[in-house]
Symmetry: C2
């Protein structure tokens, strides 16, 4: 409903759906480098149809995960509701990184999504940016965070962390880098990376929040 594009012909719309479903299945099972031919066949359409609708692999990836991206963006509100703004921001970025690392192919497409100024991929980018903006403003208002860093920059920082940690999925590295980002955002130089948390060694953080 939010799609403002011109109405597709009925059959085209059906095919569109089927491709996305097949893509979701394929990315989840086969990984990021699945054969697009296979996706097309699996969806019962020709390869030409797939490419007409999703000119690049990134377009397909972005569309496949769009729903979940929206959910991620929406989670900002929920976090703000139950955590202090600064913690909410930190938590959201952690979630963002985990999201990128989890969804196969996402790290592949992320640069294109975050940098998107041309094309249609702007949608995901704007959603994420708005979420960061909301979190950041709240933290700034709380007085613990600098007010001279644009939300877009914070988003890019989180994206950079996600990208560099995505390889070999180094979750703990990502966490430390996010600590660094937060330290850079804070007004007061607070050194300790983990807040007042000291559960001990061995960190199995199930991100299911």
């Amino acid at each position: 409903m939010t799609t403002g594009q011109r109405r597709l012909r009925a059959d085209a719309q059906v095919n569109h759906e089927r491709v996305l479903e097949a893509a979701a299945r394929a990315f989840a099972q086969e990984g990021a480098d699945t054969s697009l031919k296979a996706i097309a066949k699996n969806a019962g359409v020709g390869i030409g149809t797939l490419y007409r609708r999703f000119p690049t692999r990134e377009d397909l990836i972005e569309a496949t995960y769009r729903r979940e991206t929206e959910r991620l963006a929406e989670s900002a509100g929920e976090l703000l509701g139950r955590l202090p703004p600064e913690d909410a921001l930190r938590q959201w970025m952690e979630g963002f990184v985990g999201y990128v690392m989890t969804k196969n192919g996402m790290s592949e497409a992320l640069p294109g999504i975050l940098a998107a100024r041309e094309g249609l991929r702007t949608h995901s980018r704007d959603l994420l940016c708005a979420a960061v903006d909301r979190l950041l403003r709240a933290a700034v208002a709380a007085g613990t965070v600098r007010d001279d860093v644009p939300a877009a920059d914070v988003m890019m920082a989180a994206g950079g962390v996600a990208l560099i940690a995505s390889h070999e999925s180094q979750r703990d590295l990502a966490s430390r880098l996010l600590d660094l980002v937060m330290a850079g955002l804070r007004l007061t130089a607070s050194l300790g990376p983990p807040p007042p948390r000291r559960p001990g060694t061995g960190s199995p953080p199930p991100s299911s929040s």
Copy 2:
């Protein structure tokens, strides 16, 4: 395992050189996605030879730029010689990011290089990490920078900045993100992105943990 690689046969060594030369030319002219077939033909070898020597595209990229990577790593010393440690670190990272953005294909191969624990690409990674370590230690010794952030993390942070800014080569974004990283590294919360110049000398001990 400390055994150096076995000497190549004379002809193999020549071919190795020629491939690297052709690759350097191709990457510079055609961009990151040059045809490897073309490189092989241009070097006067078969495609099989190229792939035997450089199993993946990343291997070829890493080898092609190895010389320049070494130069970049060495530049740390020179920077330390003419700038306060903190500025040297910042400057080096700026150089690193510019390097990645300039060399075609580098951003493609960077994650593999920085994450390398398997394989032979460890060389470049270790060099860069050593350079960062040197700069970081100097800055810590000068007393303006935290001592609880591993050099590897700082390197990864710079890598993340390079990656996320590499798309569309957003140099100013990279610069701002490096400001953020530096702010996160500093002991004193200095807000202004461009460092306010504090060549303070001789304050040895950081605060007790």
